[in-house]
Subunit: 320 residues, 2 copies
């Protein structure tokens, strides 16, 4: 092969193939590609320095499925069962008794207080390393109640492609989720290629302690920071320290994050995943107790944010 | 030139030149280079994946000078002077009256309460963007009281080289400082090539507010998290989410950070800058109220941590 032929062939190979094959051709895909193209075009009016290409994603319902219950809550329920032999009193004490009988409705009859008790019993009182191990073991084995697949397989293929596409264009991708940061960090690197230091979430207090001359951090029951709704911009400010240029969510809990992102100068992309696909996933929005999308949906329409219809805009939902 | 000659020449050019020219040849430099070499040697017993090559640095007294007063406190004093016209009552109200007269000792006679009042008046009550601008303007103009240089020139040249050397070897460098995170983030990227999202520090609460339809975060007087002493491991856990393999500090405030780093499995590097150079900088350790190095110095000796003597181990202290 001549050098000339090699150059021609290389150029041909370098033609960009479709980086978002699981997205149907439609307005959302077009808006994403156009936005990225604008901010990476050196010398263009919307060019953004790579260091400022910060993209933030909600997790539950945006990157992975949140129905019928949040993954982290499924973990908590399984931990109650695993810990039950050490707590014989739980068989007659709510909300644990109901959890052990598999009666979720009964368990949650106690409202927020029941929820807090379940979370405290399963998320606190141990070292950060022990908690890490609990999550690691659970996420490697637990199966989604509806599909029987691992939770880390209940992620959205189009969003995985979007994360990769953004990173290939110099973006730094972050998770900004209401979920517990220590629950997510265990598996986000392998699942989304998002390292622990780029995961922002809700945080509990810890206590420094020396155990046999070795320092440990004990997880306390005091919640320190709730990274949801108005907490999301605060979390972005606190943990990332610069304003994102792209934000993706799926519920009213993400509304302030999108507003905060939108309020910066220069090109911005705001996206919402709309769960419209009752066949391939679950159809829900304004009336759902999990991942309610109501006020943010109205605002998205008024302000021209990109609404991604799972049914219409995604060729594939989950990885094959 | 033949291809063979070109390869030979390239190999010659690729010979590593000294990446730490401001470090004298001595045990600390040798220990650093040996540690880095061990953790980057693929297949070696101490190899560490790039993603796990987390290096944390204290800021005050470790990366830049902290004498005669912390840079952030100098900023606060200058802000009191700048704000004085809007606060006529300060001329007769302590600690402000003393600050305005340039009487630092008098200002601090009120102890911690005086300090908190000065910080609250200069660091809170404005939006995060306003505070950002205040710091940006100050850091661009304020001069160090002893040397007359910009504060960002009062950084340690050997440490700048160390940061670059680590990054060239696949490390991710973080600041973990007791200083206010929002004060540091304004200038760390330009000064240390450490981006805002890799700066961990003390944090105040913020309040979300809509002003003329645009969201802002107001800085509140409530301190949320103090990233010092036992707070440093908590900060590392909370913000970074993995255990560093290298930690560098200079005072007892860094002791727990070094202990936490040391407690991980595998190769570790723990370093302390010892301020031994009264001629080129300031000589201080066990008796200093700023940057006291006492218990950590004892522990370093017992545990074989690397103690860097500014006088003996640094060829140059500040950038030329």
């Amino acid at each position: 092969m001549t050098v000339g032929a090699w150059i021609v062939l290389s150029a041909a190979c370098a033609q960009p193939r479709d980086a978002l094959p699981s997205w149907n051709d439609g307005p959302p895909k077009k808006a994403i590609v156009e936005f990225v193209s604008r901010v990476v075009t050196t010398g263009g009016p919307d060019y953004v320095e790579p260091a400022e290409r910060i993209a933030v994603f909600d997790n539950d319902g945006t990157l992975w499925s949140e129905q019928p219950i949040y993954g982290q809550f499924a973990f908590a329920l399984d931990r109650v069962k695993a810990l039950a032999p050490q707590h014989p009193e739980w068989t007659s004490k709510e909300p644990f008794a109901s959890v052990l009988k598999g009666d979720l409705k009964g368990a949650l009859a106690g409202g927020e207080r029941a929820l807090v008790e379940i979370l405290a019993a399963t998320h606190t009182g141990m070292t950060t390393e022990e908690f890490d191990r609990n999550v690691r073991e659970w996420i490697a084995a637990a199966k989604h109640p509806k599909t029987g697949r691992l939770y880390t397989e209940m992620v959205y293929q189009p969003m995985l492609e979007l994360l990769s596409y953004l990173r290939a264009n110099g973006f730094k991708t972050f998770i900004v989720s209401g979920g517990g940061v220590d629950f997510m960090r265990v598996w986000t690197e392998k699942t989304y290629a998002i390292p622990p230091e780029q995961v922002v979430g809700s945080v509990g207090k810890t206590k420094w302690e020396m155990r046999d001359g070795r320092p440990v951090l004990i997880r306390l029951a005091d919640v320190d920071f709730v990274d949801d709704k108005e907490g999301k911009p605060a979390g972005i400010h606190r943990f990332i320290g610069r304003r994102p240029i792209l934000a993706f969510g799926n519920s009213d809990g993400d509304q302030q994050m999108l507003e905060w992102t939108a309020a910066g100068a220069g090109a911005r992309f705001l996206g919402l995943v709309h769960h419209t696909d009752g066949e391939r996933e679950v159809a829900y929005d304004r009336a759902s107790s999990i991942g309610r999308l109501d006020a943010a949906l109205d605002e998205a329409k008024v302000r021209g944010w990109t609404i991604v219809s799972m049914k219409d805009d995604w060729r594939t939902v989950f990885p094959k």
